[in-house]
Assembly symmetry: C2
Homo-oligomer: 436 residues x 2
């Protein structure tokens, strides 16, 4: 069966999936958790194959850490399922209840989106989290994980899918794509797939966004900024910028550009440069930023390698121990720079001046705007969403870290007793709009 046929059947079944009661969906999650534990030996064996292949292919140790699925990761995902079960049902929530006229009652009720296609990186725990979120929210899902964890993904998927179906989910409610060419097939399924959530490299996500008519939720790049205001507390600024740049450089919420207010640049930049250097961070920046830092370095008889950047060169996502540095004249210039060069992901101001912070947080057009904390906090778990399917930089539908809420839509239910529009159009009757 090709992807068009498979998703077309899934679409037809998605109404059954959407109709599962909260109890059934939570009960499936309980059984999925138990089944993952019961089948852990098979899952670990499958993971051993993936790890052996990674070893053979000389994959970096840091990446192998993500591929590994062991007792520790199993405990993480089963704890995650427990948390998810406890979360309130995202489906069937009455968001509005209004009497339009006597005996004519409108309700807006949350409901699953339908069929969601999720393409994610090589991380077996991601497969468990994503499929659990789809079960909890009553959505059917096409899952395509990274090829480096193909064996682990297959073992996990088989356990999750068979357990779901055995406990009341409709057959065909989940589908695992394993071939790379199936991604292109999936992109063409705009009649059956309601939403695509791609995770991965900038180029990959851009490719998805440019090659499908299906709505896409996610982000291509993550060019995040930390702006050190003239009223910044340096004691806070240094740990924040170190964390934002170095805590996990490959993350989309790592800071790529440091903006510093001119009034404090001479004082703060050399101290920061020193602290960042200790963490192995290579600085690049405008000529004037370089001059300030190099001047200080020369005074200390040190030699820092500082690459001069052009003014228009601030749109690179390094995902590495590299940081762009620029001096700005005021908060307005910082805001303009961020809105122009940023990716509308997450940006931070370090300042003790709450008025300046309020301006920054109102005018910076990003999914996350922070005062005095690391940009690395932009994450569904850290926001208390239990889990996330991705982080959206779109302003349409869902923005920022997306948990269960981004996987539901709503419908309007109108209950009448034979009412017709003509009576209202001719003035025979009037609406009275009373929220119930």
């Amino acid at each position: 069966m090709n992807m068009q046929e498979a998703t077309s059947i899934m679409k037809a079944d998605s109404y059954k999936m959407a109709a599962l009661s909260e109890d059934t969906r939570n009960n499936i999650l309980v059984h999925v958790k138990d089944a993952l534990i019961a089948h852990k030996d098979e899952i670990f064996a499958a993971n051993a194959k993936d790890m052996a292949a990674a070893e053979e292919n000389g994959i970096a140790a840091s990446v192998k850490k993500r591929l590994k699925f062991d007792e520790h990761k199993l405990a993480d995902v089963t704890n995650g399922i427990d948390e998810l079960i406890k979360l309130p049902d995202p489906v069937g929530q009455i968001q509005l209840k209004r009497e339009l006229d006597e005996g004519l009652v409108l309700q807006r009720v949350s409901c699953p989106i339908g069929v969601i296609g999720i393409i994610f990186e090589a991380r077996p725990d991601a497969l468990v989290q994503i499929s659990s979120l789809c079960i909890k929210s009553g959505n059917c899902a096409v899952l395509k994980g990274g090829k480096e964890t193909a064996n682990t993904n297959k073992a996990l998927f088989d356990v999750i899918y068979s357990t779901a179906v055995a406990n009341g989910a409709p057959e065909g409610c989940m589908l695992q794509a394993s071939q790379h060419n199936e991604i292109d097939e999936l992109l063409s399924c705009n009649k059956s797939v309601d939403l695509l959530i791609p995770r991965g490299s900038n180029a990959f996500v851009q490719y998805i966004m440019n090659n499908t008519k299906i709505p896409v939720m996610g982000h291509a790049d993550g060019i995040c900024h930390t702006y050190i205001d003239k009223d910044a507390d340096i004691e806070k600024a240094i740990p924040i910028i170190i964390d934002a740049k170095t805590q996990y450089t490959a993350a989309c919420n790592a800071t790529e550009t440091l903006l510093v207010h001119r009034d404090v640049a001479k004082e703060m930049l050399p101290v920061m440069a020193k602290a960042l250097k200790k963490h192995g961070v290579k600085l690049r920046g405008t000529a004037e930023a370089a001059e300030i830092i190099n001047q200080a370095e020369r005074n200390m008889s040190s030699h820092n390698v500082f690459e001069i950047m052009g003014d228009d060169d601030f749109n690179t996502e390094y995902l590495d121990l590299v940081l762009s540095v620029k001096i700005v004249n005021n908060v307005q210039e910082a805001i303009s720079h961020i809105n122009h060069f940023g990716s509308h992901h997450t940006d931070c101001i370090v300042t003790e001046n709450n008025e300046t912070a309020a301006l920054f947080m109102q005018l910076v057009d990003s999914a996350g705007v922070y005062q005095n904390c690391s940009t690395r906090f932009a994450d569904g778990f850290r926001y208390g969403f239990g889990a996330e399917v991705g982080i959206s930089t779109s302003k349409i539908h869902a923005r920022g870290p997306v948990g269960l809420e981004g996987l539901v839509t709503y419908k309007y239910k109108l209950y009448g007793h034979g009412q017709i529009v003509d009576d209202y159009a001719t003035g025979k009757k009037q609406f009275h709009f009373k929220d119930l």
Copy 2:
């Protein structure tokens, strides 16, 4: 200035527009209302030109009614502005407030989307409503109305825009496109325009959806259904179907297909056919529906023209006094038919059986699902939203009639005191997630 340049400037100014206070935005609306009244003579004179051109071009009377902008329409739009002023501010609403850890507080706050492009039909009142909604929600807007009302639109736009700027809105916050080729230019402005809302013919909206990377909100077709269940009350069913089909045939929420439960088809179909015929409705349908109606007609020595349709011919939006008729075996078949052939706009079940209605309303995958009332109720005004920018059949972002809520997004604001992620990653600190 071309559209790319103009929208790029608008984008940069959109942050100023977004920052206007509620008082400023409402005050602008008050002045817009007064200015429309003060300048009514110029507006009516401009409209007289459009009406003369319509006369010359032999435009149908029903269409001319929509082009006309007189005292009555002026009163309608100024009343609409009054209603809009009274509505709660859609911007700055705190949707979530959560302490992640001591001194680390997350807020989710609604904010304007930014730059919205709206392409709408030749109706001068639509220009006033749409620009008022954008002002109220703090959005910049590119407006392109139908060419048949070009003079009226220009007069209205000039009054609204100059009044807005005179009362605190940033220059360039609104832009009127008047040339048809500007639509294609607008479609390419995906760097500056956040959302497109096209209104118009199926083919036109499809064209927009297929030719832009900008998210599109709206609907191409409106194939709405009314299903007469076996437990329907015929006294309700007949006025509902008459209203749904004939009250305004050109509307997207008019019913195009009548489904009837087999158990009541012989009893109800002939009565319905008779009633519909009185209203000039031409029936088409399956052979068995035709047989039932023709049998009854023969008994009455009448000759009804009933065109036999193929089973797969149910996806035409007539927008005319034509109705497709099909007999179904049960509510499940009605649901499947609607989900397969419908446009996920608005569909109704006529039944006294609330369990059957609940099933229908849960499983029909449409923006509006109704029990015992006309599909023509699908409208922002009738839902009490004050006004609408359009009706969305997408499941992403906004669904159904879209008022102010569909014109805002949100951002996450995180307030800290120097918190870094590493402390939580290493277990030195723990999140405690407390909703405030």
